[in-house]
């Protein structure tokens, strides 16, 4: 039964009834309702329990400032926790439940907390659960269980989210009277405009206003403006879109809720993130009505006056029959009129001795009693307002008052004045300043290209809002270079108002620390007494008081309670509010879902998968892939039901004994040419580049300025002034950027051009004693014998008629060739080579075998055996360091620390039992009996079982390791055992390097 539904009016569609469930119970509302308005229509006042004290709570507000009605909507994987019922549009079949209250809302066990509330003041958790320290593990379970509100879904989100980038001249945040005027002016001036509003309909406060604009009801004027805006090609109209962040460089983020109002699991994009770059921004988000702070002001049935008006006028719901309106300003008198028009009885309590202006007369004309110079001090009733206690008040906040009147009522509408929504202005870096005449913070100096307008700028009256919006629109349009369109100001009905009276807390019959709770922040159960306690305990800074009392945290981020809290803090500190200041507002303005943040960057689109030109062949031949950066490289090629170890052993032996073939295309490749290329490379690499002859290759390493090994690779001198550089797979992009940085910023005088060839050429490594014969079989156009094509040289050639660059280099220690070929022909070449190698049982191998083969030779992998703290000397590569020239990092190698004898140095390790393969990363310890923390002397960087040698091998970095040859140290295994290992040379196989040189 919609007992509170009015028979007419409102922006709901009575012909479209919608069924919904709240806490398991069935209700009915209408299209156009929010969950909150539908609950109120059904007379549901109790919607939640409070965070700490579990007090019964009802709906307070009608928008994003709602602190109590925090609900979990939907079910299963698509549920969303912690939505404000005031923002949830009703749809048929909607399921929602309270996020607090166990076992139920009416009987909540934890409500006992309220009984003991004197013990649960600010800092209760800090004070109580810190000691004894060891007990935290017992407390934690209970505290975690009682913390927070809703529950995150446990399963993968089934819905689709997306991101959208947008550019505009003018972004208007908020489509109330000021925002609409600003958008209209900007649009008529020819600007590209985006106008966004968090609500389902544009109009803001006008949707529930009694005022007329240009003689027509305000909502009609809104419809006219929206229709015009929608007609412009370059105007984007975004309802249900919250501007939730204002970042640097006029970059703003919006969350658009596309299907949440239709239902769950709806086809299409559920929510969209707009990333907007605006030349100018108009902030027109409006203002929030402040509650008043008195005893038991949190009882269900206490609402802000504007919310009551909104429920009556927009949703045709009158939340009470016998209402009291308690105010310190004129605006709530409108609510009194609305209540009266809905058939409720009304009494107005006004703290001001003079009462209201013109509206006061209108109220009295309706026969409504107004008690001026009175305040509501306390509320009776527990799960529902039953009445109020009223006292006469002189205006002295420190005075004690005597209750003289008791009024029975079921609704208490309160208004403590208005606070502009300065959040986005604050996000943008702008300051907020206290405006003494308005008793609120207003946007101060702007830090970015934006203007605030309307009630968000401290303009309360409708005509002032319209004018402010128009002026803002004209200002931003002309700043964008447009001639601002002349838009006549619509005429708005308006009435004169009396000044509001600041009333930050209402005096009670008792001392504020002893009287019943006077709540400042409903969501966090922060009361006047909590703030006073914080100050007594020494907190003076507003940011500290916020964190100690939790004032302003939670989903509403203090939209309702912050200013009252600041003012009460100022009173306690005996300072001006402007000196106390506010806390800093940060994105997000209202909570946004993780889904909208992630957008489409989930699942297979989380990170690009880069594939080599031969990828398909690898796939067809059953290779599992290893992820290297974004590349997917074949890991090994199992035959039959071989596992990794069996396949790798076979691949290793095949390569050492006959011939193997590997896709090495992911290596970075850079073409470097120009008259100064030798000079440039001399400065980058540590070896003597100039001594390289044309047609020869060299292994090169480059150091960071700190002298640490940064990248390595083979380079080839193709011509006098042209080199072909290779980098590690992961180094391809960063090395090119590193080289360009030096060229462009430090050595612009050097004439060198660098071009990335990583993708242009694919690299096929053919390694093993039979590799030469494979290439010969494939119809190689050049003589491959040692005399004409020695180790470490490069030749242009044709293989089966296809032009290639042949490198005679080896990363396995075997006779080997690397075929560099235009990627378009790479797969064809791979197949050709497989065929040519058939008689030698040519064996494709993956990254794992490559690792084993290179480790047997003691070749390091930058990034595996090094970690950015390893010098070439640590690796035993002194022979790579030219003494004849300077190069990046050289000076750092002479630092005292780099000369230490006990630096970690690269060594080989052999498990003394001949069978333990040490896990990579294993720490090495010398003294197995040492107490914790055990001193560590090194760690394992690479470790494999070597099929060729018949035992495990490992590379490690060991402090002073080279001088410790043949000593024993211990590998600390995860299970606590210590495996003795012998320190040996890092070259395990063919120490003289004869096999690659045949």
């Amino acid at each position: 039964m919609q007992i509170n539904r009015l028979s007419q009016g409102g922006r709901i569609d009575r012909s479209k009834p919608l069924g919904f469930r709240f806490n398991g119970k069935r209700y009915q509302g209408f299209a156009g309702d929010t969950l909150a308005s539908a609950l109120l229509a059904n007379g549901v006042l109790l919607v939640s329990r409070s965070f700490k004290l579990h007090r019964p709570r009802g709906i307070v507000a009608a928008g994003s400032d709602e602190p109590n009605a925090i609900v979990q909507v939907g079910s299963g994987a698509s549920t969303i926790p912690n939505l404000r019922a005031t923002e949830v549009e009703l749809y048929d079949g909607l399921k929602a439940r309270s996020t607090k209250g166990w076992p139920g809302l009416r009987f909540d066990i934890a409500a006992l907390n309220d009984r003991f509330s004197p013990l649960l003041g600010a800092g209760f958790y800090y004070k109580t659960f810190m000691r004894p320290k060891a007990f935290w593990k017992h407390y934690e379970r209970f505290i975690r269980a009682s913390a927070g509100f809703g529950a995150a879904p446990q399963r993968t989100d089934p819905d689709r989210y997306e991101h959208c980038n947008a550019h505009c001249d003018v972004l208007v945040a908020g489509a109330g009277p000021a925002g609409l005027m600003a958008a209209l002016v900007a649009a008529r001036s020819g600007a590209r405009v985006i106008v966004a509003d968090e609500q389902n309909e544009f109009g803001g406060a006008l949707l529930s206003a009694s005022a007329t604009i240009d003689g027509q009801p305000a909502p009609d004027w809104v419809a006219t403006v929206v229709a015009e805006l929608s007609g412009y090609e370059d105007v984007t109209v975004l309802p249900r879109s919250t501007v939730f962040g204002y970042h640097d460089h006029n970059f703003l983020t919006l969350a658009e809720r596309c299907t949440d109002h239709i239902g769950e699991r709806v086809q299409g994009v559920r929510q969209r993130l707009w990333r907007v770059r605006a030349k100018q921004v108009v902030l027109a988000q409006g203002a929030f009505e402040r509650p008043l702070v008195f005893c038991n002001n949190d009882r269900p049935g206490v609402m802000t006056a504007s919310a009551v008006s909104t429920y009556i006028r927009r949703y045709a719901v009158c939340p009470g029959k016998r209402a009291v309106v308690f105010t310190n300003n004129d605006s709530a008198y409108e609510t009194a009129l609305d209540l009266r028009a809905s058939g409720a009885t009304v009494i107005v309590i006004d703290s001001r001795s003079g009462g209201a202006g013109a509206l006061g007369a209108a109220v009295r004309k309706e026969g409504i009693t107004v008690l001026a110079a009175h305040v509501v001090t306390d509320v009776t009733g527990r799960r529902k307002v039953a009445g109020v206690r009223v006292a006469q008040w002189s205006g002295d906040v420190t005075a004690r008052v005597e209750n003289t009147i008791r009024i029975d009522c079921d609704l208490l509408a309160v208004s403590g004045g208005w606070s502009p929504a300065v959040h986005l202005h604050s996000h943008s870096g702008g300051k907020n300043v206290w405006e003494e005449s308005l008793h609120c913070f207003v946007p101060g100096e702007t830090a970015q290209a934006c203007v605030s307008a309307g009630s968000g700028n401290g303009k309360w009256a409708l005509d002032a809002c319209l004018r402010d919006g128009r002026d803002a629109g004209a200002a931003v349009a002309s700043r964008c270079g447009f001639e601002a369109a002349e838009v006549p100001l619509p005429s708005a009905s308006d009435t004169a108002v009396n000044e509001m009276q600041p009333l930050w807390r209402v005096p009670a019959v008792k001392d504020p620390d002893r009287c019943p709770k006077q709540f400042v922040d409903y969501q966090n159960d922060t009361s006047v007494a909590d703030i006073r306690l914080a100050v007594r305990e020494g907190y003076r800074n507003v940011e500290h008081v916020k964190r100690y009392t939790a004032l302003g945290f939670g989903t509403d981020q203090g939209k309702l309670g912050n200013i009252n809290g600041m003012a009460i803090l100022a009173e306690c500190l005996d300072e001006d509010i402007k000196d106390v200041g506010t806390t800093t507002f940060r994105p997000a303005y209202t909570p946004v879902t993780f889904g909208v943040g992630a957008g489409e960057n989930v699942g297979e689109l989380l990170d690009p998968v880069r594939k080599t030109a031969i990828h398909e062949w690898h796939e067809q031949h059953g290779a599992p892939f290893e992820v290297v950066g974004q590349w997917h490289r074949p890991w090994y090629f199992p035959r039959g039901d071989e596992d990794l170890h069996a396949a790798v052993a076979r691949e290793c032996l095949a390569t050492r004994n006959s011939v193997g073939i590997m896709d090495a295309s992911t290596l970075g490749k850079i073409d470097a040419q120009g008259p100064d290329v030798v000079e440039f490379l001399e400065r980058i690499y540590t070896h003597n580049v100039g001594k390289m002859k044309v047609g020869r290759c060299a292994y090169g390493i480059m150091l960071g300025e700190d002298g640490m090994v940064m990248d390595d690779g083979v380079m080839a001198r193709l011509a006098e002034n042209r080199f072909y550089l290779t980098t590690t797979t992961g180094g391809a992009a960063p090395v090119l950027a590193w080289l360009e940085t030096w060229l462009q910023t430090e050595w612009p005088e050097l004439e060198v051009y660098l071009t990335s060839l990583t993708e242009t050429y694919s690299t096929i490594a053919v390694a093993g004693p039979n590799s030469r014969r494979v290439l010969q079989n494939a119809g190689c156009s050049i003589d491959l014998e040692r005399e004409s094509f020695p180790f470490m040289s490069v030749r242009s050639a044709n293989l089966a008629g296809i032009p290639v660059q042949l490198f005679r280099v080896s990363f396995s220690g075997e006779l080997a060739f690397e075929v560099n070929i235009d990627s378009r022909y790479a797969e064809q070449m791979w197949r050709l080579l497989m065929q040519a190698g058939q008689e030698f049982d040519i064996t494709p191998y993956g990254t794992e075998t490559m690792h084993v083969l290179r480790a047997e030779k003691g070749f390091v992998i930058v990034g595996q055996d090094t970690d950015g703290s390893v010098t070439p000397v640590d690796l035993g590569m002194n022979w790579m360091l030219s003494k004849d020239k300077d190069y990046l990092g050289k000076r750092s190698l002479a630092r005292k620390d780099c000369l230490r004898e006990d630096r970690k140095q690269l060594v080989g390790l052999l498990s003394e039992d001949g069978k333990t393969v040490l896990p990579e990363g294993t720490q090495l310890v010398d003294d197995t009996g040492a107490p914790i923390p055990v001193p560590m002397c090194g760690h394992v960087t690479s470790s494999y079982f070597s099929a060729c040698l018949g035992h495990p091998i490992a590379l490690a970095l060991v402090a002073g390791g080279r001088a410790r040859r043949d000593e024993t140290t211990f590998a600390a295994m995860q299970d606590g055992t210590r495996v003795p290992v012998r320190i040996v040379s890092s070259v395990f196989y063919d120490a003289k390097g004869e096999r690659q040189n045949v």
Binding site: R160, H163, G268, G674, E751, Y753, T755, L757, E759, S762
Partner: protein, 177 residues
């Protein structure tokens, strides 16, 4: 109505010559323009159309997009002619793929993953720009045809790019070829 649909297709047989040189020094510009038979675009992010499509990539870098069959000859001609200049010419055809996207929803599709402003007044015919699209880097070329764009993508990213385009275009009226 099929005209209105946005098409996505991967073009085959496209050649790409990367050209480096300082247009303000020596005879580089004159030689390059003579060999190409068309001007080198000097205005940032513009394209010169002629026998080839020459895209500005940087103050000293261009991409010459041409038929794959012509790239080899063009490479040799440029290398020979520019031998006396400080220049670099590379045939990158093997490493690049071209995705052509045409139709009314093209710009909306780009907006899903690219931060550039593709408004018809801003990204006009004859524009080109290097930018990220989703998590790949792309050269966007407005070919001059109404709503016809060529996206030059690194070949290792092509598979990802097409997957992303399919996903991002799911809500739009797009056909894939």
């Amino acid at each position: 109505m099929s005209d209105a649909r946005t098409r996505v297709e991967v073009l085959a047989e496209i050649g790409h010559i990367n050209l480096r040189g300082d247009p303000g020094r020596g005879a580089f510009r004159e030689i390059a323009e003579r060999v190409l038979g068309q001007p080198l675009p000097i205005t940032p992010n513009t394209v010169s159309e002629g026998g080839h499509r020459v895209c500005w990539l940087g103050p000293d870098e261009w991409s010459v997009v041409t038929a794959a069959g012509d790239a080899g000859v063009l490479l040799e001609q440029l290398q020979t002619a520019l031998a006396g200049e400080h220049a670099a010419v590379n045939d990158l055809s093997g490493g690049l793929a071209v995705v052509r996207i045409s139709g009314a929803d093209s710009r909306r599709l780009f907006a899903r993953g690219c931060t550039l402003d593709f408004h018809p007044d801003k990204f006009v015919p004859g524009s080109c720009a290097q930018a990220g699209l989703a998590k790949a880097s792309v050269l966007f070329i407005h070919t001059g045809g109404r709503d016809v764009f060529d996206l030059v993508v690194r070949r290792s990213f092509l598979d990802y790019m097409v997957r992303w385009l399919r996903h991002a275009g799911a809500e739009l009226d797009i056909e894939f070829h």
